[in-house]
């Protein structure tokens, strides 16, 4: 409980401690969630996306060393940093992104995988180079699970989902696995200072000479009136423009009305475990600074979850269209991740480098998990109420493989998932991928029976994954 021991409770200008018992605070907005545990703590999802796949071929460096059954295994070197949470994790191999081979897909390789991994769909039509001969690709025609969950349960928190990452410069379908409605890729924020401002900016309390409560009330009232005017403008403009533009304005208005609903009431008291983080001083946002950036961004996400600013936290790092820029120099590497992932210097040498990268990533993840474990919540810790999905857009990098990727699910999510196991579908269940995504949707309270194109999750979620 290192974090809690040195926490400073959020204080307003008058020195008043803001905060009610955690239960009250979390239930103030939106009422009790379908996905809350018996003690009332809400369920959370973290997506930890790392691009370029893993070293899994010709030798599988990811695969645990298997003993007598699914619960008897040792973690590989690559996964070893996750040893402390091995019993709370599901290591799943052979999760083919079958939907990415759909006849309607418009891309190959990295963009094809990135548009499938969280959607159960494929890279649709668009204007971006996707790699398939004579045609151009776009984002997935079906949204990703983070968006779907945010849409379902996001009204309960300030942000339906948050997206932070390291060096997310790429704007193409290869670099943006998170997809909103209407084939819009969701941007990832790579600047921890700007991220802080947007997530915790609201926590800035009163103006001089004003009580915290009065300040918050005034701000909320102002926003209500200002946004009423903007909504009036949206309606007025919508009546003048063509059908396509009107649709965009309608979406804008719908989304803005939702924001208005949240910001026109004073913010709820923060949960007890919520500690307003310190604004980062990092200005170098290049990949070379990842050892500083990754923890900074993950810390913000941990506290955004602890403060119940959102229940869906997405992190992404190492992107296939980073154009040769992602060199893990702090590991002694001189070549970029994508180049190494293609084993251009040979299997033995480059697999070693890829394991080093994955170990470093797993270490970042474990540090983040420890942060979640340090936040006390009803029924245990924040980690106990969280599920983390670690995934990539492809399986092994050098063949752009989408037939045998892996899903690492960490955290039982209040006992929802049956963890402590290594499973290998080995291609036997061609729709395992979509059916796993469906489990995550259901866990987060989305009562869906399919994800992406229903044909890839026909028959419902995979059996024997949850405790139900």
């Amino acid at each position: 409980m290192r974090l809690l021991s040195r926490r400073t409770l959020l204080r307003g200008a008058g020195g008043a401690v803001l905060g009610l018992p955690v239960l009250d605070a979390m239930l103030t907005i939106g009422g009790r969630l379908p996905g809350a545990n018996a003690a009332g703590a809400p369920r959370r999802l973290v997506i930890f996306f790392t691009g370029e796949g893993f070293p899994m071929s010709p030798t599988n460096e990811w695969r645990p060393i298997v003993g007598t059954g699914p619960s008897d295994f040792q973690l590989s070197t690559m996964l070893a940093p996750l040893e402390p949470v091995k019993r709370q994790s599901l290591f799943i191999e052979g999760v083919p992104y079958t939907s990415s081979n759909d006849s309607r897909q418009r891309a190959q390789g990295h963009p094809a995988g990135a548009q499938a991994v969280l959607t159960g769909a494929w890279a649709g039509d668009g204007t971006s180079y996707g790699g398939a001969p004579g045609r151009l690709a776009g984002f997935s025609p079906y949204p990703s699970i983070d968006y779907l969950i945010g849409k379902e349960i996001g009204s309960a928190t300030r942000f339906p989902a948050l997206y932070l990452g390291v060096n997310p410069g790429g704007t193409s379908p290869a670099a943006r696995p998170f997809v909103a409605a209407d084939q819009k890729g969701i941007a990832v924020q790579g600047d921890p200072r700007a991220a802080f401002d947007s997530i915790f900016g609201d926590f800035n309390g009163a103006n001089p000479g004003e009580s915290v409560a009065a300040s918050q009330k005034r701000r909320a009232d102002d926003r209500k009136v200002v946004l009423d005017s903007v909504l009036g403008d949206l309606k007025s403009l919508g009546a003048q423009v063509g059908a396509d533009d009107r649709r965009r304005l309608d979406q804008h208005a719908t989304q803005l009305a939702e924001i208005q609903r949240k910001v026109s009431v004073p913010p709820p008291a923060a949960p007890n475990a919520c500690v307003k983080p310190v604004r980062s001083t990092i200005t170098d946002r290049s990949f070379a600074n990842a050892p500083a950036l990754a923890p900074a961004q993950l810390d913000l996400l941990a506290m955004a979850l602890a403060c119940d600013r959102t229940r869906v936290a997405c992190f992404s790092m190492s992107h296939a269209d980073a154009d040769g820029g992602e060199v893990h120099r702090w590991l002694g590497h001189t070549r970029d991740h994508h180049d190494i992932s293609h084993l251009t210097k040979g299997h033995a040498e480059d697999s070693k480098l890829l394991v080093q990268i994955a170990v470093w990533q797993a270490t970042q993840l474990m540090t983040f998990i420890k942060k979640l474990q340090a936040v006390a919540e009803p029924g245990g810790t924040l980690f106990d109420n969280t599920v983390i999905l670690w995934c990539s857009e492809i399986g092994n990098g050098w063949t752009h493989d989408r037939n045998g990727p892996v899903f690492t699910i960490i955290g039982s999510g209040q006992g929802y998932f049956k963890t402590g196991r290594y499973l290998n579908f080995g291609g036997g269940s061609k729709n395992a991928h979509s059916k796993l995504l469906l489990h995550i949707l259901n866990y987060m309270g989305v009562p869906a029976t399919s994800v992406g194109d229903p044909m890839y999750s026909a028959g419902g979620p995979l059996p024997n994954i949850t405790t139900a």
Partner: protein
């Protein structure tokens, strides 16, 4: 390869998108705008009136466009004198066409609208009301109404309607309960989040019977011109000719375009276009092996791009006589003390200066920033360089490799060229790589940071290549200077430059109905058109001045 367009794909797929209009001309003119001195037009540049050839056919779509990060920063700077660049912290746009102007990537996610909310509150709070207000608060409502009228008209880039002003007055009255300044601040917050501010929408003039397109209104045209050539809201002289309706004439439009091109903001547009077109965004965070290239770092990268910027700004803006030929073949570079070694000269200058080079160089093709961007950390990338020429200079994008590509194992005894030649031996790869590698190999004299070299791994560099896929310029070449000579003679290259600029200018993918403008501009360049007038030509083209009839259903 970051972007490609519909037109390109049609070309690549073997469809012909070429439709050449018939003869004719438009009324041309060269009348200076009020209160400024546009630079003289090069008399040898052919007249612009030939470009669209009195074409009255359909034009491409005109989707509503939202201010991007660059435009947002510039617009609040000009509207409120706010130089804080509040949009810098926003994540990059989904620029599927390769340009940040692309409308197809613009959604309305919670994240994006939250950014507008936060920025509006910040900008409104920091605004200096004494300078913005323009009237005495003691006059009460009269001052409030006059402020709303003027501020909304500037922010919305057209006169504010009674309806709009009424809503803003309601906001003012609410804030006024605290004090006058709060009322003004809330009005600013409402304006800065209004769709009339955030979006550029174009309804066009009233259609005439039987027309398939309508001209943009003067205010819509003023915004298009200003955001295209200056990346910001219309300035006072431009707003004046929009208000008066003078902007309806081609003469005024051209004069205004030339005036805007003389403003400092035009230089930032040149920088923005080339940063994206030349894929210099790759340089951000790009590292090179420090053992091999100890001199390379962020400072070097910044100086290299400063040189690229100075080169294109001089060619397009400072001189009236820059040509596509020179863009592709210039034997000089802009360099400073940091980048002199890249170009094989010495310099003590702290700013980039035009310097004639002795080693073989060819404009943007051998530009240090471009060469560094299109290379890996340890070795060159003939594929990336070939893709760049094929995709960005000829607008003929090539497919990505299929799944399950076996790696090319390293061999210290081979040059990069020898190693890559192996996958052209594989028939599955040869189809595409035959279109890429023989171009990319021509660049092998330029190492991963753009320095001239004649050997690699102890072996002499072979920079011979073959250009294919063009109508008039196919054939063998040795080195980039010869390749540049072939490209400079290729009509495809000039049409592709037109297409790339139009993609940037229109904020959308170029389609079938834009072909006449794109080929018209390319043909005009073929007849000796100069680059500054080329930008004016785009601004007065049909694709730029008209929109299709409004489809309301």
């Amino acid at each position: 390869m970051k972007y490609a367009t519909l037109l390109s794909v049609l070309v690549f797929a073997g469809c012909s998108g070429d439709i050449v209009g018939d003869g004719g001309g438009d009324d041309d003119g060269n009348v200076p705008g009020p209160g400024d001195e546009p630079p003289p037009v090069d008399p040898t540049s052919p007249p612009l009136g030939t470009i669209d050839r009195s074409d009255e056919g359909p034009v491409g779509p005109a989707p509503m466009r939202r201010l991007n990060r660059r435009e947002y920063n510039n617009t609040v700077r000009d509207l409120l004198n706010d130089t804080s660049r509040p949009a810098d912290g926003w994540p990059a746009e989904s620029a599927l066409t390769g340009f940040d102007t692309d409308v197809s990537g613009q959604g309305s996610t919670a994240q994006e609208l939250e950014q507008f909310l936060a920025a509006a509150e910040l900008v409104a709070r920091n605004a200096n009301q004494a300078t913005v207000l323009g009237c005495d608060p003691a006059t009460g409502d009269a001052c409030a109404l006059s402020f709303i009228d003027r501020f909304a008209a500037r922010a919305y880039r057209r006169p504010a309607t009674a309806d709009q002003k009424m809503r803003l007055k309601t906001v003012f009255d609410f804030g006024r309960r605290t004090d006058f300044a709060s009322g003004v601040r809330l009005v600013m917050e409402a304006v800065l989040q209004s769709p009339f501010f955030l979006y550029r929408y174009e309804l066009g003039e009233k259609p005439t019977a039987g027309a398939v397109r309508v001209a943009l209104t003067p205010h819509e045209m003023a915004s298009r011109l200003s955001y295209f050539l200056n990346g910001t809201m219309p300035d006072d002289p431009l707003r004046a000719v929009a208000d008066s309706g003078e902007l309806r004439t081609l003469a005024t439009m051209e004069a205004q375009a030339r005036r805007l091109l003389a403003k400092p903001d035009a230089r930032t547009i040149l920088a923005a276009f080339h940063h994206q077109w030349l894929e210099l965004d790759r340089l951000e965070g790009l590292t090179k092996d420090p053992k091999l290239f100890p001199a390379y770092g962020p400072r070097m990268a910044a100086s290299l791009e400063a040189g690229t910027r100075a080169f294109v700004q001089n060619l397009y803006l400072e001189r009236g006589d820059g040509t596509v030929d020179e863009l592709l073949t210039a034997p000089y570079a802009y360099l400073d003390a940091t980048t002199a070694s890249i170009y094989g000269v010495t310099s003590t200058s702290t700013t980039v200066k035009k310097t004639t080079l002795t080693q073989p160089r060819a404009g943007i093709l051998t530009d240090g920033a471009v060469m560094a961007a299109l290379a890996g950390a340890t070795e060159t990338s003939p594929i990336a360089r070939g893709m760049f020429v094929r995709g960005h200079l000829l607008c003929q994008p090539i497919a990505a490799p299929p799944n399950d590509v076996p790696p090319l194992l390293p061999n210290p005894n081979l040059t990069t060229r020898e190693r890559l030649s192996m996958h052209r031996a594989n028939p599955a790869c040869a189809g595409c790589h035959n279109l890429l590698d023989p171009i990319g190999f021509g660049f092998e004299n330029y190492d991963p940071i753009g320095r001239w070299r004649t050997t690699e791994n102890g072996k002499p560099v072979d920079a011979s290549g073959i250009l294919g896929g063009t109508s008039k310029s196919d054939g063998p070449f040795s080195g980039v200077v010869e390749l540049a000579g072939r490209l400079a003679k290729a009509p495809e290259a000039r049409r592709c430059l037109s297409e790339s600029w139009m993609t940037f200018a229109l904020g959308r993918q170029i389609g079938e109905n834009d072909t006449r403008t794109v080929t018209g501009l390319g043909d005009w360049l073929d007849t000796g058109g100069k680059l500054r007038e080329f930008l004016v030509g785009m601004a007065r083209s049909n694709a730029f001045r008209y929109r299709p009839l409004l489809a309301t259903k």
